[in-house]
């Protein structure tokens, strides 16, 4: 199918984008990379009167080091997460997750902001934002506000963004030498949405885990922190026993979707296998650092 007819506007500033949204009486969608929106329009799941192309707004671009955090503009393309040196050095989990996102051509156009604002629970970048403890910078007609990733993902495709607001940038606490990172997922074919996936951040004190942050995708209605598993690790030596306890605790953390191809119990099992592999892979790293 083809998209319903719409008007197309291309604002140069955030203020112009808000004006266009107001003028459309709210019957408008923001267009960034458009790689989720274009299929939704073609399938007529959405049919806005106006598309507001925000891809040319300079204030939504750029990756800059800002003290202890990395400010990543919402229009940063998936492919840039693979190549940008600031992301590789300061937000390594984004770099690790990027090869798992769709296919090369999709990564050339799709934006981090678009992926996070859509909040597909099966997408990689929303979960990674949770694991990194990122803050979302949101612009609205009344000014800018910041929302932690924890408070951003509310429900299936529901975020803290109010109608008309724009996701402007991510503020990611930069990686420290004591941090260990890992990301992986199970997908039936390369580029498919994952059956389940996870990103892990461990803050190590020698061989001991000082703090753990674990976020899963395809494991609930939103990307989700595995807080009980994290608690199993905090303050403990990273060894087989601690990992087994964390794997066991996942039952209380995840609320996996249940469908014909992948029963919830299978997803939980795969989540445990995945967590075991991710944490196990970090044991040697931790020992080397100690």
């Amino acid at each position: 199918m083809k998209a319903r007819a719409f008007r197309y506007v291309r604002p140069a500033t955030i203020a112009e984008a808000f004006d266009a949204f107001a003028e459309a009486g709210g019957e408008a969608s923001y267009l960034a990379g458009g790689h989720s929106l274009a299929p939704a329009l073609a399938l007529r799941l959405q049919a806005p009167d106006v598309l507001i192309d925000i891809a040319h707004i300079g204030a939504l671009r750029g990756i800059v080091l800002d003290g202890d955090s990395l400010r990543i503009g919402a229009l940063t393309r998936h492919a840039e997460a693979l190549t940008d040196p600031h992301i590789a050095a300061h937000a390594p989990l984004l770099r690790m997750a990027a090869p798992h996102v769709a296919h090369p051509a999709i990564r050339n156009r799709g934006t981090l902001g678009g992926s996070v604002a859509l909040a597909d629970p099966a997408a990689e970048f929303p979960a990674v934002m949770l694991a990194m403890g990122a803050e979302m910078e949101i612009a609205g007609p009344d000014g800018h506000r910041r929302v932690p990733a924890e408070a951003f993902f509310l429900d299936l495709y529901q975020t803290a963004l109010e109608p008309g607001e724009l996701l402007v940038a991510f503020h990611v606490p930069i990686a420290r030498p004591s941090h260990r990172w890992a990301f992986d997922e199970f997908a039936r074919r390369r580029g498919d949405y994952a059956v389940i996936g996870a990103g892990v951040m461990l803050d190590m004190d020698g061989p001991t885990v000082a703090e753990a942050r674990i976020a899963f995708l395809s494991a609930a209605a939103t990307p989700v922190r595995a807080r009980q598993a994290e608690s199993c690790l905090a303050g403990r030596l990273l060894d087989a026993g601690a990992i087994a306890d964390a794997q066991q605790a996942l039952a209380g953390d995840l609320d996996p979707p249940d469908d014909e191809q992948t029963p919830a119990a299978m997803r939980l099992h795969l989540g445990r296998v995945l967590l075991g592999r991710l944490l196990g892979g970090l044991i040697d790293n931790a020992a080397v650092a100690a």
């Binding site: 199918m1 083809k2 998209a3 319903r4 007819a5 719409f6 008007r7 197309y8 291309r10 267009l31 458009g34 790689h35 274009a38 299929p39 329009l41 073609a42 399938l43 598309l51 192309d53 891809a55 492919a79 090869p99 769709a102 296919h103 090369p104 051509a105 999709i106 050339n108 156009r109 074919r189 390369r190 580029g191």
Partner: protein, 163 residues
């Protein structure tokens, strides 16, 4: 009332300005307005890869961008790539290895192959398969396609390749 918008872009080296409906995808624009029918429309939702073209040098799904979004961009289609001779070795390898049957997916396969072979070095077969993960071939010709791309990579790196 039909809403139209003006778009100016460069297609295969030619400057083009047209008045079009904003809802027209780049793939439809190339096929209908420019008669460049080498860009194929398969799934029209970014899955099959038959509509891949280069936008500002990067492989892009023609079905996932509206033509108005390409304002000011440089677009190269399979017609431009083949007429320029830049993918002649890839086309020859596809021919020699029988890396196509019906040919519907081939323009997209060639755009992906061209993009992945642009940087120096010889990719592994795993990397080739990864790059092709967004290109569907319903004649199940993947093995030969991977063979062809690998052969070109080796040729370009100056290696001898068995015929």
């Amino acid at each position: 009332m039909t809403i139209t918008a003006s778009v100016t872009l460069t297609i295969n080296g030619e400057d083009v300005t047209r008045e079009i409906e904003p809802r027209e995808t780049l793939a439809d624009f190339l096929r209908r307005d420019m008669q460049l029918t080498g860009t194929h429309t398969g799934c029209e939702m970014g899955v099959c890869g038959a509509c891949l073209v280069l936008v500002d040098g990067k492989a892009t799904h023609g079905c996932l961008v509206f033509a108005v979004q390409a304002e000011g961009s440089t677009v190269e289609t399979i017609e431009g790539l083949s007429e320029r001779g830049i993918i002649g070795d890839i086309q020859a390898a596809f021919h020699e290895r029988n890396a196509l049957q019906c040919g519907f997916c081939t323009p997209g396969m060639l755009v992906t192959a061209h993009s992945m072979l642009a940087p120096p070095g010889v990719p592994t077969r795993e990397e080739i398969r990864d790059a092709l993960s967004g290109n569907y071939c319903r004649c199940t010709g993947y093995e030969a396609i991977v063979d062809a791309i690998e052969a070109v990579a080796r040729q370009r790196a100056g290696e001898e390749v068995a015929a």
